[in-house]
């Protein structure tokens, strides 16, 4: 399963709910969710923990737009729009969290 999250973890519970329920798979952070994968963020520790169970990706255009592309946590893979499409294509199902 590819979990797609687009909400800031400090505003909404989507990231926490995903990490609480899903056993593994891939997580793609887009839009405001990319903040979670930046060094020193309150959610960064949870992302680092999640790397043991999930492959974690963050969308570079969204990181760049928010001025945080240089703060991406080690182990989180940056992907562009093409990479987004590939991730969706290679997983049998996607779950776009709201």
């Amino acid at each position: 399963m590819l979990h797609i999250i687009n909400k800031s973890p400090l505003e909404r519970s989507a990231l926490d709910s995903c990490l609480r329920t899903a056993g593994g798979g891939a997580i793609l952070l887009i839009e405001d969710a990319v903040y979670a994968a930046t060094r020193g963020h309150a959610a960064a520790a949870r992302i680092e923990e999640a790397l043991a169970r999930f492959a974690v990706y963050a969308l570079t255009p969204d990181l760049a737009a928010r001025g945080v592309a240089d703060r991406l946590i080690d182990g989180v893979t940056p992907v562009d729009y093409g990479g987004f499409v590939e991730l969706v294509a290679e997983h049998p199902a996607s779950h776009s969290w709201l």
């Binding site: 399963m1 709910s17 609480r20 329920t21 798979g25 199902a93 779950h95 776009s96 969290w97």
Partner: protein, 121 residues
């Protein structure tokens, strides 16, 4: 039928603050009308959708909670509720208006993983 897919609808929003819960119900009914395999998951504030005793006259909203009781007639009988979400809201199964299966977070995650299509509301 070979074109039956397993659909799970993940409900995470309380009923009247946003339109998501009602919209999810509409899609569930349409999906059921197409004879698909439908499961409903209620987690986070979504568990409030199933709270008994909703009275909406004073907020001038349609009380759509009776629709959950109609789901059985649409052969939608797989309703799953997250135990942790109930506990965090001081709710128990007895507070809910339909029979459900209560699962742990991990069990719920495995259930969602086993579906063909996941729609989040």
């Amino acid at each position: 039928m070979s074109n039956v897919k397993k659909f799970v609808f993940v409900n995470r929003k309380a009923p009247y603050g946003t339109i998501y819960a009602l919209e999810a119900l509409e899609v569930v009914l349409i999906t059921a009308a197409f004879d698909q395999d439908v499961s409903l998951v209620f987690m986070d504030d979504g568990v409030y959708q199933l709270k008994r005793g909703q009275q909406t006259q004073a907020i001038e909203n349609k009380n759509f909670s009776p629709v959950y009781r109609a789901l059985e007639g649409y052969d939608v009988e797989k309703l799953y509720v997250e135990r942790e979400a109930l506990a965090a809201r001081a709710l128990t199964e007895d507070d809910l208006l339909v029979p459900v299966t209560v699962l742990s977070s991990a069990e719920l995650g495995a259930l969602i993983d086993s579906q063909d299509v996941v729609l989040s509301f």
